[in-house]
């Protein structure tokens, strides 16, 4: 759904392939081989010689969650600097040339809990491709002049986000939910911090999070695990983890706030967008609840189900659903709908009444649950069908939730029953506080009888943002 992209922020180095979709998950049958390089770097190899290509993904457990308020957004700046000069490649022009020489299509992305860099290239260039990746991650120059130039590029990326009508409102929502630690969920960061980034800050980020002990290398396609391991040891050996290195832990988030609703008008908003967010489970903490969350959201998507019929098939809303993006450190359960202004008020009420409906007997059926499980199994096959994408998916799960979580995901989903779903809804939704936001244009606000109450929030949260 369209709303989803706003709160699940993934920033990409290049314009295209900026994807922010739920990462699907896998079965108990491992599709990859695991090894450890001599420097401690985890290696996951997916041997799938469908076409003569190899995809190399380097992922680190880093992002907004490892930043401080005064460095918010700089992991993303670092991600951009990765594609510039290093000890072997003098500058970005040479970097780009090497990309073309090796036939690499590439990108990188930064989210709250993960940074990924990925190359796809002809598999007969795997050796050179791994060396290229090793040089980029281990010996970046972080040259001051290049930083000055790239800062402006990142600011244009920031401004593109700020050009969207929902930009301010989604920032307000995050600040309400996470209070003083809101920066830990904001990979884009703040403009004024990006404007003043310096090299020392980036070097600190490098030694804090871009180390072998905090990273994994995923290689997929026309490759063999033995060869990959040999080449990784050959090229990455000089990249080491500093002595006494420890993973960064920024501590727990503040308690979820009391129920708050903010309505904001924007001249360019075309429809009414409403979303209500409850605190949800985290893959590193409330594991079994995360499986139930995934089952619940797919039951709500089931097109024979009551939710879909009430909101989507009836035409009441232009789109509606529950969104849950599995993450290790923070969970958000987002109930959303887009609509015409005439139905906005009814939809708000109906959405907020939904959780009580979900716990009524018969709201979900056993056959719907069976469909959802089958869909997961088939979804996994579809995912494996594209090794170049699957490598990125595996990287995501390694970084945010761990391989144990991922390996056992499908078998754990099989254990979730409708009773578990009811318990989950009572635990996370019924009577629990939520943060609601509504975005619409001023004319639609009159029709919907909604009042823009955002001024105090704008003043509190966005002054000097």
């Amino acid at each position: 759904m369209k709303l989803y992209k706003y709160f699940c922020i993934i920033l990409s180095t290049q314009l295209f392939a900026a994807v922010c979709l739920a990462q699907s998950k896998t079965s108990t049958t491992r599709s990859y081989k695991q090894a450890e390089a001599t420097n401690g770097l985890q290696i996951l190899t997916i041997e799938m010689p469908k076409v003569p290509l190899a995809t190399i993904v380097l992922v680190a457990k880093a992002g907004a969650m490892t930043e401080l308020p005064e460095t918010n957004g700089l992991t993303h700046v670092w991600e951009h600097m990765f594609f510039k000069g290093n000890k072997r490649i003098p500058n970005q022009e040479a970097f780009n040339k090497r990309i073309r020489q090796l036939g690499i299509t590439y990108n990188g992305d930064t989210s709250a809990e993960m940074v990924r860099y990925y190359f796809t290239l002809p598999s007969n260039n795997l050796d050179e491709g791994l060396q290229f990746m090793a040089d980029a991650i281990s010996t970046p120059l972080l040259d001051d002049k290049e930083l000055e130039r790239e800062r402006v590029v990142v600011l244009d990326e920031y401004d593109r986000n700020a050009s969207q009508p929902g930009f301010e409102l989604f920032n307000i929502e995050r600040m309400i939910m996470y209070g003083a630690k809101e920066h830990l969920r904001n990979p884009l960061g703040r403009r004024r911090i990006i404007e003043t980034t310096n090299r020392d800050q980036l070097l600190t980020i490098k030694s804090d999070v871009f180390v072998p002990a905090n990273s994994a290398l995923i290689v997929a396609g026309d490759v063999t695990a033995d060869n990959v391991k040999t080449l990784v040891n050959k090229h990455f050996a000089a990249w080491t983890t500093p002595p006494n290195w420890k993973p960064i832990n920024r501590g727990p988030f503040p308690d979820f706030p009391q129920t708050t609703e903010v309505t904001k008008t924007h001249q360019l908003a075309q429809n009414v967008t409403q979303q209500f967010t409850w605190k949800g489970p985290r893959t590193l903490h409330e594991k079994s609840d995360t499986w139930t969350a995934d089952i619940l959201l797919q039951l709500l998507e089931h097109r024979s189900g009551k939710f879909f019929k009430k909101f989507v098939d009836s035409g009441l809303a232009l789109g509606a659903g529950l969104s849950y993006h599995s993450q290790g450190q923070a969970g958000e359960l987002v109930l959303y709908a887009a609509s015409r202004p005439e139905t906005a008020s009814n939809i708000r009420k109906a959405l907020l009444d939904q959780p009580k409906e979900w716990i009524k007997p018969g709201y979900f059926s056993a056959s719907q649950l069976s469909d959802v499980r089958r869909k997961q199994r088939i979804g996994y096959k579809m995912e494996l069908n594209r090794p170049s994408e699957y490598a990125k998916t595996l990287a995501f799960w390694w970084a945010t939730s761990g391989l144990d979580y991922y390996d056992n995901y499908l078998s754990n989903l099989e254990k979730v029953n409708l009773n578990d779903v009811q318990k989950f809804v009572k635990k996370y939704f019924v009577g629990k506080p939520y943060v609601g936001i509504t975005l619409l244009n001023p004319e639609d606000a009159k029709v919907a009888n909604y009042i823009d109450n955002s001024a105090p929030y704008v003043e509190k949260y966005l002054t000097n943002y």
Binding site: I89, R100, Q101, L102, R151, Q164, I378
Partner: protein, 446 residues
């Protein structure tokens, strides 16, 4: 460039050239691809994908919004949207239940020149999916409630385009790139009006015109097709009559110098600028050269505007290859004057200097990767085969692409650049207080 890079590059170019040479024959891929002509002369393309039980099956209508009259262009996308809602054999609840039970991905999408209905599933559930796809294609219900819902969804899609500044920049340039009656023109605001005025009866009439075996083909990508499955598909689609209706010939958009700039005021922090111009058709002899020309120009724009001058996060050049080709330059920037000056300088220099053999070789390396990425998944493979069938009448021409690319010379690219990079039409979405339209002159004079 460092000595290290110099010494490596020559070796790599040889490797890439060898790979291109291997690609040129592409016999293994060709041998896995077969075509069959049904009794009604409809073509079925099948591509075997060993080692996977995933299947993509699509039905392509060689018809799009460009084939409709100028005040009814939205009917094609609306019809495609509504076709999946219910059919004579499967009511809506049955469709929902089937697609959920068997995890069948079912979709119909309308395009400018062609449209498509497709299913994706695993071979175990293919019989059910074939039944469903055939019914959606041949006997959609278009009942009033379904049509009302489809209209609402289509209008919402158009509104999303209006809200997004980048797609709105595309709409803005389209107002000057196409005249009112050009077949490719369908602005979101017109789409909304047209969609709202269409009825269920309009869609039923329109659908009858779509069912012409001479303008439909089938594409299968999946495990080796069993005789039973083949028979099933053939029996479902060979009943479609052959009408031999004629396809419209589309003329290139005319350039009107006095009506080549469009500006739309929005108070946003970055300007979205989109440039369009005529380019070689996908069928033109220069299509491969144009493809490479745009790829290299895009790299040069990125190098100058993003890497060296930090004027933009997103700048690129590209081509949309329909029966009439369209060239595109696009950029977002908070320094529009400097960026436009820089873009004009890159384009001018590119036309004057062309490209080196080394740059061309580098492009071929990237092409190799992109080409195999297309072959990697069933969906993209079926899509590419369908596209080649539609434009060239032969899906296997897909496998000739590497050979065409390897035949292009630096002289071809410069010739195409000189021929194509002109007569720019420009659309800008930005804050009017921060922009002067005279800044665009530098591009229009290239």
């Amino acid at each position: 460039m460092t000595p290290f890079l110099t010494s490596l590059s020559s070796t790599l170019f040889i490797a890439a050239a060898l790979l291109i040479s291997e690609l040129s024959s592409a016999e293994p891929d060709k041998n896995l691809t077969a075509t069959q002509t049904l009794r009604n002369d409809m073509t079925m393309i099948s591509r075997e994908t060993p080692g996977s039980d995933i299947v993509t099956l699509s039905v392509t209508f060689m018809t799009g919004s460009a084939d409709q009259s100028f005040n009814k262009r939205a009917i094609n996308e609306l019809a495609m949207e509504a076709m999946t809602y219910s059919t004579k054999k499967f009511n809506k609840s049955k469709i929902f239940s089937l697609t959920e039970k068997y995890s069948i991905g079912l979709a119909c999408r309308g395009g400018i020149e062609m449209s498509q209905c497709s299913i994706q599933t695993v071979s175990e559930y293919l019989p059910q999916a074939i039944d469903l796809l055939a019914s959606v294609v041949t006997e959609p219900s278009f009942n009033k409630d379904d049509v009302a819902l489809a209209k609402q969804q289509r209008v919402a899609d158009y509104q999303r385009d209006i809200q997004n500044p980048e797609s709105h920049a595309n709409t803005t340039v389209n107002t000057v790139f196409y005249d009112l009656h050009h077949p490719y023109r369908l602005l979101p605001q017109d789409g909304i009006k047209q969609t709202e005025s269409l009825t269920a009866d309009d869609l039923k009439t329109y659908h009858r015109s779509l069912l012409d075996a001479s303008k439909i083909f089938i594409t299968y990508a999946g495990p080796k097709m069993s005789p039973k499955i083949r028979k099933n598909i053939v029996s479902k689609f060979e009943k479609i009559p052959k009408l031999n209706s004629q396809k419209k010939i589309v003329a290139a958009p005319l350039f009107e110098p006095k009506n080549s700039l469009a500006f739309e005021h929005r108070q946003i922090p970055t300007a979205y600028i989109r440039v369009k111009f005529n380019a070689p058709s996908i069928l033109a002899k220069d299509a491969a050269a144009a493809d490479i020309m745009f790829e290299i120009l895009s790299q040069k724009l990125q190098e100058e505007i993003r890497t060296k001058r930090s004027l933009s996060y997103a700048v690129y050049a590209g081509t949309i290859q329909y029966n009439q080709g369209i060239g595109v330059l696009s950029v977002s920037t908070s320094k529009p004057k400097e960026t436009l000056d820089a873009m004009a300088a890159v384009v001018k220099s590119f036309k004057e200097r062309g490209v080196t053999q080394e740059e061309l070789n580098e492009y071929r390396n990237i092409f190799t990767t992109s080409y195999f990425l297309t072959l990697e998944s069933h969906g993209s493979l079926a899509g590419a085969l369908s596209s080649f069938q539609f434009y060239f009448g032969d899906a296997k021409k897909l496998y000739d692409l590497p050979q065409k690319i390897s035949a292009v010379t630096p002289a071809d690219i410069q010739r195409v650049a000189k021929d194509v990079l002109k007569n720019f039409r420009i659309g800008v979405v930005y804050d009017k207080e921060k922009f002067e339209t005279k800044w665009l002159d530098v591009l229009t004079k290239v």
